[in-house]
C-alpha cells in the first residue's frame, strides 16, 4: 500500500514539523489554561484584597455579627448579621418551597408525562431557565407584591406593632427565588432521572415493584448525584441572585421573618453600591462580597464532600 513502509523501519528519530506543531499546541493550550486559571485566581485574589480591609477595619466580629447597618450615619455601623441570616433563611426557604415541587415535576416529566405534553412543557421550562432574572423581578413586583400586600394587611390587621411592608418582604423574595430556581432544578434533575440506567428500572419492576415505588425507591437514589447537583445549582442561583429580589424583598436590614422587609447579602451590595461614596462604606460592600464568596465556597465544599462521600459509599 504505502511506498514508504516496504521495509521494516526504525522507530527512532522523528519528524521535526510534527514535533514542532505538537509542542506549539501544547504551549497554546497551556497558555489558555494559564489565562483561565489566572482569571480565576485573579478574581479570587481581588475578592480577598478588596473585601478584607473593610472587615479588618470594622472588625470581623462586629462586621459579621453586628446587626446594625448604618453606613451613612455620623457614627456609621457596618453589621451584616441580618443580611447573612436573610441570605441563609431566604435561600433555605426557597429550596424548601422549590425543591419538592421541582423534583416532583421532574419526575412527572421524565416518567409520567404523555409525550405530547412533554414536548411542550420541557421547552417551556428551558425557556424559563434562560430568562433574565430581572424579568422575574418585575413580574414579582408587579404581580406578587400587591397580592402579598393584601395578604399581609389581612393577617396583621389588628397588630399595631407590625411594620407594614406593602408586600415586599421575605416571603415575596422566597417565592420569587423558588420560582426562579424551579426551571433549573427541573431541567437538571429531569436530565439526571433520564440518565438513570434502564437496568435499575427494569430490575426493580422485575422484582414486582410498581412504577411509583420504582421511582421513589430506586430511581431517585440512582439519580441522586444529578439531583444534588441540580439543587446546588439552585442554591447557587438563589444565593447569588440580586436583581430579581431587590425588587421584591423590601431591602430593609431586618431579621428574616416572613413578613419583614429584608435585605440579602447580594441586594445589600447592589443597592448601596449606587450611592456609597468612596471609603469605608464602599469597602464594606466588597467585604460583603467576600463573605458571599466564602459562603458559596463553603456550600460547594460541603456539596463536593456530600457527592464524593456518596459516590465513595457507592463504590467502596
Amino acid at each position: 500500500m504505502q511506498a514508504t513502509s516496504q521495509k521494516s523501519f526504525t522507530i527512532q528519530g522523528s519528524s521535526k514539523t510534527k514535533t514542532a506543531i505538537e509542542k506549539f499546541m501544547t504551549v497554546v493550550f497551556f497558555v489558555c489554561g494559564i489565562t483561565a486559571v489566572a482569571a480565576v485566581i485573579g478574581i479570587t485574589v481581588y475578592m480577598i484584597i478588596a473585601g478584607s480591609p473593610a472587615i479588618a477595619k470594622v472588625g470581623p466580629l462586629e462586621f459579621l455579627f453586628g446587626s446594625e447597618w448604618l453606613p451613612t450615619a455620623t457614627e456609621p455601623k457596618f453589621g451584616i448579621l441580618y443580611f447573612i441570616l436573610t441570605s441563609i433563611v431566604g435561600t433555605l426557604l426557597a429550596i424548601v418551597v422549590g425543591v419538592p415541587v421541582s423534583l416532583l415535576t421532574a419526575i412527572f416529566l421524565s416518567e409520567l408525562a404523555p409525550p405530547a405534553l412533554y414536548k411542550v412543557v420541557r421547552p417551556a421550562v428551558e425557556l424559563l431557565a434562560g430568562i433574565p432574572s430581572v424579568i422575574y423581578g418585575i413580574i414579582g413586583a408587579q404581580l406578587l407584591v400587591p397580592l402579598m400586600s393584601a395578604f399581609e394587611t389581612a393577617i396583621f390587621k389588628d397588630d399595631p406593632g407590625h411594620t407594614f411592608t406593602g408586600g415586599a418582604n421575605l416571603l415575596s423574595a422566597v417565592l420569587v427565588l423558588a420560582v426562579m430556581i424551579l426551571p433549573t432544578i427541573v431541567n437538571v434533575s429531569e436530565t439526571a432521572l433520564r440518565a438513570v440506567p434502564r437496568e435499575y428500572k427494569e430490575a426493580s419492576l422485575a422484582l414486582g415493584a410498581s412504577h411509583i415505588q420504582t421511582i421513589f425507591k430506586v430511581m431517585l437514589g440512582a439519580a441522586r448525584s444529578g439531583i444534588v447537583t441540580s439543587i446546588v445549582l439552585g442554591i447557587g442561583r438563589a444565593i447569588g441572585e440580586a436583581m430579581a429580589i431587590i425588587m421584591v424583598a423590601g431591602n430593609v436590614a431586618n431579621l428574616p421573618l416572613p413578613f419583614n422587609s429584608v435585605r440579602f447579602l447580594t441586594t445589600a451590595i447592589v443597592s448601596d453600591m449606587s450611592y456609597a461614596a468612596a471609603g469605608l462604606h464602599r469597602e464594606s460592600l466588597f467585604g460583603i462580597g467576600l463573605v458571599l464568596f466564602v459562603f458559596i465556597m463553603v456550600i460547594n465544599f460541603f456539596v463536593n464532600i456530600l457527592l464524593k462521600g456518596g459516590s465513595k459509599k457507592e463504590k467502596g
Binding site: E22, V101, P123, A124, N300
Partner: protein
Amino acid sequence: MSEQKSAATILGRRPRVSDRVLKALIFLSAGITVLLLAGILIYILVRGFPNLSWEFLSTAPSTLKKRFGILPSIINTLYMIVITLVISTPIGVGAAIYLTEYAKQGRFIRLIEFTIETLAGIPSIIYGLFGAIFFGTLLQLGYSILSGAFTLTIMVLPLIIRTTEEALKTVPASYREGALGMGATKWYMIRTVILPSSLPGIITAVILSIGRIVGESAALLYTAGSVTNLPANWLTHPASSGATLTVQMYFAVSEGRYIEQGFGIALVLMVIVLLINGLTKVLAGRAGSKAKG
C-alpha cells in the same frame, strides 16, 4: 418468609394507597409548575406584546420625544455576544482541553476545578465590580462595551470550561486509545477525534454563555454602562458605553418610567432565549448526528 398465599395467583389487582398519594402529589406539582410557567409566559406576552411595534424595534430611545426604542440595545447586545464569545470560547475550550487532556490529574487540578465551580456561583454584581476596577480603571477602558465584554468573558469562562470539560470527559477513552494507538500525536488526536465528538457539548457551552450574556445586567451596569446610542462608527463602537437589552430593561423598569416598555423588552428577550434554545438543539443535534451518521 411470608406472602406465600398471595403468590399463589397472579390475578386480582390491588391498587396501592401510597402509590396513589404519591402520584397525586406528582401530578399536583406538575400542575403547579405548568400553571406557573404558563402564567409567567402569558403575563409577559400579554403585557409585552402591545408595546411591540416597528418603531420600538427599529429606533433609538428619545427622552425628548418620549419615545422608547431598543435598536441600540439590540446592536449592543450583539456586539457584547460576539466580542465575549470570540474571546472566551477559544480560551475556555483551550483551558478545558488543557485541564482534561494535558494537565496531570491531581490535587491542583481538583483545586482549580473547585475554584471554577465556586466562581460559577458568584453573583454577577461582583464580576461587575471587578470588571469596573480591572478593565474600567486599570486598563483605562472606562465604561465601554469592551470593558463589559471582558468582564463577561471572565464570567462565562467558568461556564465554558466546565461544560466543555464535561463534554471532553464524556468522549470515550476508547477514542483516545484508538487514535493514540494508531500513532496520532496528541494534538492530531484532539483535532480529529476529541473536538469533533465533543462539539455538541462545546456548542451547548457557547449557547449557555449567550444566554448568560443576554440575561446579564448587574455585571454590565458598572462596566458597559447604560448608554443607548446608535453606533456612530461600527469599528470604534465597542470602545463606547452601551447598554444591552437587559440593562436597558432594568433602567426602564427600575426608574419606573417605562414599565410597560420593559415588558416589551422582556418579550423580545424571551423570544431571543427561545431562539437560542432552538438553535442549541438544532446545532447540537446536527453536530451529534454528524458524528453518528
